[in-house]
Point group: C2
Amino acid sequence: MSVTIKDVANEAGVSISTVSKIINGKGSISQDTINRVQETIRKLNYTPNSRAVSFAKQNTKNIIFLTSMKKNEPYLNPHMFEIMDGSYIALSDLDYTLSLMDISMKDGQESPVIQAIQSGCADGILVHGSAVTEETAKYIIDSNFPHVIIGSPSMDNQLCWIDTNHVLAGQCAAEHLLECGYMNIVFIGEKRTDFISNQRLKGVKKAFINHGLHLKAENIYSISSNISNARSLTKEILTDNPKIQAIICENNTIAFGVSAGILDLKLDVPNDIAFITFDSYPYANIIEPKPTVVDIDMFDLGFQAAQTLIRKIDNPLLLAQGYSTLPILKQGLTTKKGL
Amino acid sequence: MSVTIKDVANEAGVSISTVSKIINGKGSISQDTINRVQETIRKLNYTPNSRAVSFAKQNTKNIIFLTSMKKNEPYLNPHMFEIMDGSYIALSDLDYTLSLMDISMKDGQESPVIQAIQSGCADGILVHGSAVTEETAKYIIDSNFPHVIIGSPSMDNQLCWIDTNHVLAGQCAAEHLLECGYMNIVFIGEKRTDFISNQRLKGVKKAFINHGLHLKAENIYSISSNISNARSLTKEILTDNPKIQAIICENNTIAFGVSAGILDLKLDVPNDIAFITFDSYPYANIIEPKPTVVDIDMFDLGFQAAQTLIRKIDNPLLLAQGYSTLPILKQGLTTKKGL
DNA sequence: CTGAAAGCGCTTACAG
DNA sequence: CTGAAAGCGCTTACAG
């Protein structure tokens, strides 16, 4: 139905090989023929069928992005979609397309990761860390299929992965508070088992040590993070211990609750109490006053992951494991230098 | 490198046609051969190359989703990704894959919509309304390519589109307030040119008329929606006119500001003042007290759009234009019956 | 019931 | 500089 390379060849009076060579800029063709064929292409408004091209070339120029696609996921976990967005942009710059795939297991089916690899639909996969089980990890390594895991996998192995350095982010937040002159600092994090929360806490402790200080165990709180939990905990902490000068909020939800708790106590920010959090989204921008945040550019993380994957496709021996996308401090109105 | 239909045929001692027929359940094959071939498939762990299949069958079993993929888009417009999510789920149920494509124009290139159609990469496209210009609309119609526009296009034409009925949503919100017994009602919307805001306002007016009432022009406010604008406007309105009983907030950002403004005035919700908004995300769930919302299920909208598109592919004559996904009222704590 | 052959729309050695 | 032919991994009339 649509115009093919054959139509162009017929119309221009050459063979399809010649047309193909001109399109791909390969071989030596006389300028005359080139002009004629290009004119014909324009005239017929010919676009090569990209599936046929990729099929003949034996590459797909497609990457599959595997993540959780449950209902409400974009609302509950916007960061993942920001990462996807960054991956898309990097890939499209390199003339790759991006397909989506849900990681949730279905009865009687193989793991989606394995399906993605076996389908022959992609030259590589970008996989959210949570989708990687021992079984899939083994399959990925055995098949030697190009991949980048987003978020460092818990198991120790030869997978390629990329992540942000949450330890560094935690350190960055604590350094800032210490440099401002805050001494009595509290950390409120997600319940103890949460990986990211623990990493950030680790960084906070490191910063204390660097300053010859020590974050006391009683100043570390972990809650199941929702706004009202954080709000009431904040009131408790600040009432029981008025010497506290600053709070490190491990995520935006906690920061939102902390901010509300402070407001309840009618304390002034940052003079009576300061706080800092991580990530500019989803809530940091709507908290009053605008909080100081350690920001992690998720778009860039996705961008880096995609670029790493393409490098891996071009160079299968590459073992890429590491951190990219430095956390950066964005000064807001909830912390103040020179106490 | 990976195992092909040829390997299976060789191993099982049959022709590739036979293998193909068995895989697709076509033709009449003896149970004996079927068993033998299936055993071989299992043994070799053969999966058909889906690109080769789709190429031979001349369909792609792929849909392209065209939307804005700018940095921060998932944070600023999570609804679009929720729609995408719903589309993905519907498509994957029907054995279609989903590819992403950015709608922003690049210098010297055709419109992404036209590129998507010409690439031969997809059997159909799902397009965000904002990507549809007069030129692309014409191209889509002329090419007769299966498509569904998400959000009704402004131009009057033969495009297929699906949208939520914002008029109905507005009506639903106002009906609720009127049924609660609120009489003095204010509407705060986005600046006059915003399509959705206008539609919702239209519905509000309709509800008033249905109740033999009339929404006075001085009770309609339009602002460039950000939190502090909404907050200060709320204070102004309620100070100048203490008779106001309820506020309809056209979006979550406005609702957040309105809620803050009410708090500033130390008024009680819903006894002194009530309010209602649209959508449960991104902020409705973190506003205190939890607001009554007219919720629109964006996931379902995407789901419906995708199903409509597949119907359109199977039946090219179908002209689908209409509203789906009824808005539903979710009672919160910011409105109260029986005044 | 089974298989040889043409075809999907391209690319790419290879021959001339 | 140009083209005929094989091939990418399948499907699908068609013949037997």
